[in-house]
């Protein structure tokens, strides 16, 4: 494991400054065992990282720390200034229309900019709607548009599609792939879905008891085919690391 880590460190140190750098990050709540335990992580600019792990393994805690929502009590964290987060719930303000929600995320945003981003996520036709009238998938599209109007160098997604039905989820994955290629931000995607991770990410990380158990590059061309034997092999490996035996 340490080998993989140092390998990554070298690669990105040589090419450019990392977008995200975490060193020895620990976090505990009360007297419980630490949720994050001396964690090291580097994400390169424009790199897409998927973060997997059992429920309670500390994924959200890591993401919240990176987003500045939780304090750094032990260790070091450095992130770009421009960051955005999308959560499992859209967290749109119900009293603002869809485009107002999007525009609110960027101080100087105009309506035209908000409309352009809503167009990118395929929601321009609903820009005047109230959020309570949106379907789950539409709400998450709006949340994505709101995240992207900030032109983030680092985008965090915490199980953004977990509450969506399977078909909508596939569409949203395709959308995220497109958006990522257009916006070039570094992405950290928390997911439970091994296929989602393998479809989208450059690297998959498995978190276990506050430590990184696996840090695995995904050397596959895009768009990715589930039938690809390498895809199959990586999937088996990921599932095994997660304790699911196929």
């Amino acid at each position: 494991m340490t080998e993989t880590l140092s390998h990554n460190k070298e690669t990105y140190q040589n090419t450019s400054q990392p977008a995200v750098r975490v060193r020895g990050l620990s976090r505990r709540f009360g007297n419980n065992p630490p949720v994050l335990h001396g964690l090291d992580l580097t994400i390169a600019p424009g790199e897409f990282v998927a973060l997997l792990g059992h429920s309670g393994s500390g994924k959200s805690t890591l993401l919240r720390t990176l987003a500045g929502l939780d304090p750094v009590t032990e260790g070091e964290v450095s992130t770009p200034d421009e960051i955005s987060v999308v959560f499992q719930e859209s967290r749109l303000l119900p009293w603002k229309t869809v485009w107002e929600n999007v525009a609110l995320a960027q101080q100087s945003a105009t309506r035209a900019q908000a409309t352009r981003l809503l167009d990118e996520v395929g929601l321009a036709h609903r820009q005047d709607a109230w959020p309570l009238t949106l379907s789950g998938g539409e709400a998450q599209r709006a949340a994505l548009a709101r995240a992207l109007i900030r032109e983030p160098a680092f985008l965090m997604l915490d199980e953004p599609f977990a509450a969506l039905d399977a078909l909508t989820r596939l569409r949203m994955q395709a959308l995220v792939a497109t958006l990522w290629q257009r916006h070039h931000s570094a992405v950290l995607l928390v997911t439970h879905d091994v296929d989602e991770a393998l479809t989208l990410a450059d690297r998959a990380i498995v978190l276990d008891k506050g430590r990184i158990r696996l840090d695995m590059p995904i050397p596959l061309e895009r768009p990715r085919r589930h039938a690809d034997p390498v895809f199959e092999r990586l999937r088996t490996q990921l599932l095994e690391e997660l304790g699911v035996h196929t």
Binding site: L69, V85, L93, T133, S135
Partner: protein, 302 residues
């Protein structure tokens, strides 16, 4: 929006409700937003008559009892007499003058209550110190019957406009404060967290998240405040005043003019009704976002 008012009109009418609940039966009216309501009004006329029949009959009986001498008109003015007196008072301007004074007192008191209640609630709900300094005393004070302060207020502030306006303001401040405070406390912390991640400043958070999120509760508080304001005004004007509807009624008492007293009662009743409707309309306007059906077709699926 246009259709919404019918949901809140004293609904009664089982038949009208059925037509609202099952619109697909009239696809023609569904398409054009303007035709639906007209259609509904026509349906609601008959049942509405039924609803108002009982009060009308009571008034007729009252008039009959007075005309036949069954009730002494010295103690109980007849409806016709009340109407005539009201008309007379309006003709010579007495009514308008007193009404104007009362309205001004109520409006100033309410405005003061809103300003105070909103400021205090914001401070108390948004800072730990504010909570300790403001909330505890208010929670204790609110158990006092505010009307019992009337004599003190007259001692302190004399007999001018000030004690009356302050009494109205004091009574109306509590519901504004309590409801807004509760509303702010109940705002989804996830939305506040989101506001933080998109970099909103404290003031922007208050303006875009906290105030609109607590607006439904603020409006509930305002409606209560309006009804309390009238109550306080009635008492304030009857204890010590030289003008206003309450004063007009106390004057009438000295001359055994029950007809004028009834005119005053009717005016108070109308004022209460109109102001309550006003806040309701405001509520419906301000909270459109809570009625998904008001904005198109409800839940969409992608």
């Amino acid at each position: 929006m246009s259709g919404a008012s019918f949901h809140n009109a004293p609904p009664l009418l089982p038949r009208d409700k059925a037509s609202l609940a099952a619109p697909p039966a009239h696809p023609r009216h569904q398409k054009t937003g303007t035709r639906g309501p007209i259609h509904r009004i026509r349906w609601s006329v008959l049942p509405a008559l039924g609803r108002y029949a009982s009060p009308v009959i009571l008034v007729l009986l009252w008039q009959a009892a007075c005309s036949t001498g069954l009730i002494s008109t010295r103690l109980f003015a007849s409806p016709l007499q009340i109407l005539a007196t009201g008309w007379g008072l309006a003709q010579d301007g007495t009514l308008q003058a007193n009404l104007g004074v009362s309205l001004l007192r109520a409006a100033s008191g309410l405005a003061l209550a809103l300003a105070t209640g909103i400021s205090l609630a914001l401070i108390a709900a948004l800072s730990r110190i504010g909570e300790n300094v403001i909330d505890a005393p208010i929670q204790i004070l609110r158990t006092l019957p505010v009307l019992a302060l009337a004599p003190l207020f007259i001692l302190w502030f004399g007999i001018g406009e000030l004690p009356k306006v302050l009494l109205v303001a004091l009574g109306a401040t509590f519901p504004v404060y309590l409801n807004l405070h509760k509303g702010i406390r109940a705002i989804d912390p996830k939305l506040l967290e989101m506001a933080h991640t998109i970099g909103l400043s404290r003031w922007q958070r208050i303006r875009n998240v906290i105030l609109p999120g607590a607006l439904p509760d603020l409006l509930v508080g305002t409606r209560l405040a309006v009804s309390i304001a009238w109550l306080m005004l009635v008492v304030a004007e009857q204890i010590n005043a030289s003008s206003g509807i309450g004063h007009m009624m106390m004057d009438a008492q000295d001359f055994l003019r029950t007809d004028i007293i009834f005119v005053g009662l009717a005016i108070y009743g109308l004022l209460g009704l109109i102001s309550d409707q006003g806040v309701r309309i405001l509520e419906r306007r301000a909270l459109v976002w809570r009625q998904p059906s008001a904005q198109g077709r409800g839940q969409n699926h992608d």
